[in-house]
Symmetry: C2
Subunit: 354 residues, 2 copies
DNA sequence: TGTTAGCACTCATTTTGGAAGAGTGCTAAT
DNA sequence: ATTAGCACTCTTCCAAAATGAGTGCTAACA
């Protein structure tokens, strides 16, 4: 028994076992079929007979790194096996990395488009499913408000939140207002509300504000409502996905039952949003994370793996991107692609700043 | 041979044949399995032996209304058969119609949300896939522009198009501008551009405008660009879909090949957009339309039917909704649901107007 | 003591050959 | 014109047999 609990359990494995395990997983990632002792005996550089391999495999199975789907089938990696592989065995093979920057900058002028593009590129590059979250602050704050009359009894309310998030609302009002009133309202609203977040807009403040505007308190009421709603709306998580149909390419996921559940998860997005808000909001999970099988908290993904990364839009504003594929996904490639994407996104966002 | 070419070809069918065909299609809609002569002989009120039915079926097949998947299987309707059924044989059975209004009004405050909701409700109610297009004018026109300084060298440009479509752009400018300049720019922009569409913003006008603003012509240039882009963007078709995974519920569509293609079509949406802009933009197709099998111009939908309807957002602004399902979809229900939805949407939009 | 060849055994998959069943087309009788 | 009857054609279902991949174990070997 090894002495260390965390990060070193695999000390129980000698070098040869590690190599064999690695060979098994690699082969399985390729083929998706249970791999037998004979295959490995030919595959590896350590010249061993299939019989020896069998013995080792038997051990590895006992230790929980591989699984036999049924007697007299080859072995497939268990979640524990994958975990070990991802943590220590994976060797970054060099591979050309697609430069996505050009594709990206060109098409997208708005953040939403950009993120959707990112998702699409990821899906196309990896042949898995991708998801990208829209970054959001923990708390939004009113930066600037502007009211303008655009029709007889219709006001346009422009709400600018921090980070220059802009929201528009059309407000119907019964009383017609002349220019002066609108001007006054603008001043009052801005002096009262600038810099405030949703929690600061409370009854006391509302009353104060209403006192200032006299007969227009109804409209102010509506406006405040809309502001609150806009802030709340912007605080909602938003997710873009792409390549959902890619999962149909992997036989182990594409039987009706599983595929249906998975596709529904991607279409509905509700679960994905929960996933984001729950588990992945921890400040710690910054780098690239791999969740294997049941490590993902979504039931329908129990046969999938999820690789996530965090990008930084600006100082303190983070979003996530994720790749979902079969457990036997090409972890190397996915991790590489994500790393690559992160630096490219950094570039883009930095440049936009200027 | 019948004398009339269009809409009356089925005159070649006598009453009994019609009844039999109707019975075949109805049964097939129910079961999804080829239907045999014996079934019909029991099913119909016209007491005929299976042998007689067989003869009639043989005729119907020769005429192209039904198909035999293989010798000694029952018959299934051909596209031509479905067409006849939808055009003339379908009898509107009474059924409770869900009142979707409440669900709708409650949740949606913005048009996009509303349309997405509509799509979702349709999909849930019918168990098929639904799509809803965002309505759009043929040509947008600038109604109102507003520039405000929200940061040292960042301007917020609010663009209001007709029908109160609002767009925002953030514009970076090198020169810092005082309040007065912004005010002046606002006036100039509005006087020059109000009421103009994209085609009216030509070189001549641009030059005129630039002359007015002197040193700020660079910024004006950017602004005009952004306006043009905004108008163009708003003119792009937009489609919301829901219930794509529903197609997996129908065995005849859910084999990997077909399902994959279909789901991709729904995810990608590009083809759907083309479909909308091409075929369905004709002013004629106002009412409820049914496209069967190859009548839909999308290859992947050749085993599907598509039922579309047009809703009116306001005078002259139309959008489409569509239901996509297997050819043996429950046409009655779908048509009823759509009719119902149309009136409910009318209600909602009328009320919003006030 | 670790490695290997050999062999019996297991179990999933594929193949095969009916047998059953559904449905037709045709013919002859009504 | 309708129908009963029958031979015929297919698909589908099922079970038995063949195949084959892969294992575990044992005995021999270095």
């Amino acid at each position: 028994m090894s002495a260390n609990k965390k990060g070193g359990e695999w000390m129980e494995l000698d070098d040869r076992k590690l190599k064999i395990l690695q060979a098994i997983i690699k082969t399985y990632l390729d083929t998706g079929e249970p791999v037998g002792s004979r295959t490995i005996s030919k595959y590896t550089d350590l010249n061993l007979s299939s019989a020896t391999i069998r013995n080792e495999m038997s051990d590895l199975e006992e230790m929980g790194y591989i699984i036999q789907p049924h007697t007299s089938a080859g072995r497939i990696p268990s979640d524990k096996g994958y975990r070990l592989y991802v943590d220590t065995l994976m060797e970054s093979k060099e591979q050309e990395v697609t430069d996505m920057r050009n594709d990206l900058i060109e098409k997208a002028d708005r953040l939403e488009n950009l993120l959707q593009q990112v998702a699409k590129l990821l899906a196309m590059n990896t042949n898995y499913t991708s998801m990208v979250t829209k970054p959001r602050y923990n708390s939004y704050v009113v930066k600037f408000l502007q009211l303008s009359e655009i029709e007889q009894d219709k006001l346009l309310l422009v709400i600018v939140l921090n980070d220059n998030v802009v929201k528009n609302r059309i407000i119907n009002c019964d009383i017609s207002m002349d220019n002066e009133v609108v001007l006054k309202l603008n001043i009052v609203l801005n002096t009262f509300l600038q810099g405030l977040g949703i929690e600061a807009i409370n009854i006391g403040l509302i009353q104060q504000l209403k006192d200032q505007v006299g007969e227009y308190s109804d409209i102010v009421s509506t406006i405040l409502d809309e502001i609150a709603r806009a802030i709340k709306e912007e605080g909602e998580p938003e997710i873009y996905t792409s390549g959902a149909t890619n999962i149909l390419k992997y036989p182990e996921l594409s039987d009706k039952e599983k595929a249906s559940e998975l596709l529904y998860t991607f279409e509905e997005k509700k679960l994905l949003k929960e996933l984001i808000t729950d588990k992945f909001s921890d400040e710690e999970n910054r780098g690239i994370q791999v969740y294997i099988g049941n490590e993902t908290p979504i039931e329908s993904m129990k046969d999938c793996s999820l690789v996530t990364a965090t990008y930084e839009l600006k100082e303190g504003v983070y979003g996530k991107v994720g790749i979902i594929g079969p457990k036997r996904m090409d972890y190397e490639k996915v991790v590489k692609t994500l790393q690559n994407l992160m630096t490219q996104l950094d570039d883009i966002f930095k440049n936009k700043e200027e």
